[in-house]
């Protein structure tokens, strides 16, 4: 197609002179091209609204209100998701449980990222015996089955921490315990990724250049090298949120996680164990929410991986 009119010509010229895309725009473009990731992101927003917006319709008292006369009633007009073994409303509990599950997922990852980045960065940057020591420690942590470690730690620390008031809610102390133990049993992969990244980045010339301006080691680690490895950390962190939610569900399902009456999607499943056939609404709702959340996070993580990959080529529209 040729250029017919002056207007078209000027428009074309404008397009040619358009500002180059910033890295942020390129990343957004690539992410949006990933259909499943967009679906996952939308799903996650919906789930966040569900868990944190649902507070407007139900109070926590309602979520923890027991009415044994109504125990195990199937979904109905008053209780759209039915009631559990001691007559609590499942809809309200999935809302409050969702908050806890998501908070645990996100906070555990924060703990994981802090520990993993610190260990990986120090090991990779300093090398030598420090690297040896930290990596042997990491491998030792790998050798202990995570589930086993989680259970032992949950059993050991559980019930020792008093309830905590935050965000106008009272959390069982076990929430904090679970966050910390999930965090400190899952940082090893991240530490290895960060270490590998630091090993290659520290040889780069800009690190040498930073040294020649008198920048201290700590500043080089955190201000110069770390921003360069932020992409793999974001991807790994995102995918870890899903793992943390599953881990929490795991231990809560086994009765060692967050203690009732505080609800989580995981400990809601615990009570459903004996009623898989007779009262399926006990597990269908929290179960599907877990699956949906984890799936969405994984899609988003995949999308991020593609979007943040510096080697990916930006295709033309």
């Amino acid at each position: 197609m040729g250029i017919q009119t002056d207007a078209e010509f000027f428009q074309l010229q404008e397009e040619i002179q358009a500002e180059p895309l910033t890295p942020g725009q390129i990343i957004r473009m690539r992410f949006l091209r990933h259909k499943m990731a967009v679906f996952g992101a939308i799903m996650l927003i919906v789930l966040l609204f569900y868990s944190f917006g649902g507070v407007i319709f139900f109070s926590e008292e309602q979520a923890n209100f027991t009415d044994t006369k109504l125990r195990l009633s199937p979904p109905s007009r008053e209780h759209p998701f039915g009631t559990d073994t001691i007559g609590r409303d499942i809809l309200a509990r999935t809302i409050y449980g969702g908050q806890i599950s998501l908070i645990i997922g996100l906070s555990a990852v924060i703990v994981e990222v802090i520990v993993g980045v610190l260990i990986g960065a120090i090991a990779g940057y300093y090398g030598g015996w420090i690297d040896g020591l930290l990596m042997r420690f990491t491998e030792a942590m790998f050798n202990i089955p995570q589930l086993f470690l989680l259970l032992v730690m949950a059993k050991f620390f559980g019930g020792k921490i008093p309830p905590i008031d935050m965000f106008g809610r009272s959390f069982s102390g076990s929430v904090i315990v679970i966050i910390v133990i999930i965090g400190i049993t899952s940082w090893m992969y991240l530490a290895r990724i960060v270490r590998a990244n630091f090993l290659s980045l520290k040889e780069r010339e800009f690190v040498l250049a930073a040294h020649t301006t008198g920048t201290s080691n700590l500043s080089i680690i955190f201000n110069h090298i770390l921003p360069n490895s932020i992409a793999p950390i974001i991807v790994s962190g995102t995918l870890s949120v899903a793992n943390a939610i599953i881990s929490e569900a795991y231990i809560s399902f086994l009765g060692l996680g967050v203690q009732p009456p505080t609800a989580t999607w995981g400990n809601m499943l615990e009570g459903a164990y004996n009623y898989i056939e007779t009262a399926p609404w006990l597990w269908i709702f929290p179960g599907s929410l877990i699956v949906l959340t984890v799936l969405s996070i994984n899609f988003v993580g995949d999308g991020m991986r593609d979007a943040l990959d510096p080697h990916a080529i930006v295709e033309a529209k």
Binding site: R204, E205, F206, L208, A209, H211, T212, T215, N228, I230
Partner: protein
């Protein structure tokens, strides 16, 4: 009148332990830099030029590298004995450095402005705002148009020449006494090279800095340096004022190097340029005699068994050679 040397290397020995064996990168090198002067360090790739100046910064990666012997005197104090914290105060403040490849020596994820202002925050105790304002000024000084807007650009938005200008701004930010330029023009095309050389020359004279300029471009050295040190295989083979060196090169290596340059005033119009056969020895081998023997046109028996020391042959002119290149006989 001789100036007091601001920086002095004395018998520096640096080795690298690699998988192929020990690389003898720098073998007892001494040179000095006088205040306000420029020292050119010339030599082929791998002859120890960069290693000797990285040692001055104490930035030889250990392992594999290690400074085995020698002294590096900054204002008469041996900085090899300094602690890492003391070195951090010297780097960037007293001695600054620009590198060969501006494409890789800027951090891709930090803005140009941040990288320039960082040194001033560290060394001069400026607040971030003051340092940022000064960084914009510096960008102006090194000739970046629209400095204010370009301040918050990332390195990928700069061209090669602009990045090298930004590197220079970074190096000059704390008014260092010594500027070390490690082949700063090698990665740039010729017109930009000339601009960068002019820029550094101008700034050096304005700020009264001393400089060490490493290059394998003899033309650049002729333009910039007061004194030239020629290195070969980790040794200094010739040291002289820049004019004396070009007029009267006394070491066979320097001699061949200068012959291999095209000259505007040459009468040999259709002749081929002279070349130096072979390549420099790898640093892992220990050579008994002079390392230049395999490529030298003036070899005598003594060259094969004994490595010549660096000796003064005229005032201000030292060479490390047994032979007088003018008549081919032993001196």
């Amino acid at each position: 009148m001789e100036h007091e040397p601001i920086l002095e290397l004395k018998d520096l020995v640096v080795k690298f332990h690699t998988l192929d064996g020990v690389v003898h990168a720098v073998n007892g090198v001494s040179y000095s830099l006088e205040e306000g002067k420029t020292l050119g360090v010339v030599g082929e790739s791998g002859c120890g030029k960069s290693v000797s100046v990285l040692s001055v910064m104490r930035l030889i990666l250990d392992p594999p590298g290690k400074i085995y012997a020698g002294k590096i005197l900054l204002h008469g104090k041996n900085i090899l004995e300094y602690s890492e914290a003391q070195m951090e105060r010297i780097r960037g403040r007293q001695i600054a450095m620009i590198f060969q490849d501006p494409m890789t020596s800027l951090n891709p994820v930090l803005t140009i402005g941040k990288q320039i202002s960082e040194g001033m925050v560290i060394h001069l105790g400026m607040t971030v705002e003051e340092a940022n304002a000064r960084a914009v000024e510096l960008l102006n000084i090194v000739g970046i148009p629209n400095a204010k807007d370009r301040f918050s650009d990332y390195p990928h938005q700069f061209s090669g020449g602009m990045r090298q200008r930004a590197m220079i701004a970074m190096a000059l930010s704390c008014n260092p006494e010594i500027l070390i330029a490690d082949e700063p023009t090698t990665a740039l095309d010729v017109t930009i090279q000339a601009q960068i050389v002019e820029l550094v020359k101008r700034l050096r004279d304005q700020l009264g800095m001393s400089a060490i300029w490493i290059t394998h471009d003899l033309a650049v050295v002729a333009d910039l340096a007061d004194k030239v040190v020629v290195m070969y295989a980790g040794y200094i083979v010739e040291e002289a004022d820049v004019f004396r060196l070009y007029e009267n090169p006394l070491h066979p290596y320097t001699n061949s190097l200068l012959k291999s340059l095209p000259r505007v005033d040459s009468s040999r119009e259709h002749e081929r340029l002279a070349t130096i056969p072979g390549s420099p020895p790898t640093g892992t081998k220990v050579i008994a005699g002079c390392p230049f023997v395999p490529r030298c046109n003036f070899v005598i028996d003594r060259c094969r068994v004994e490595n010549p020391p660096l000796e003064q042959v005229e005032s201000g002119h030292k060479i490390a050679c047994w032979v007088d290149v003018n008549n081919g006989r032993q001196r």
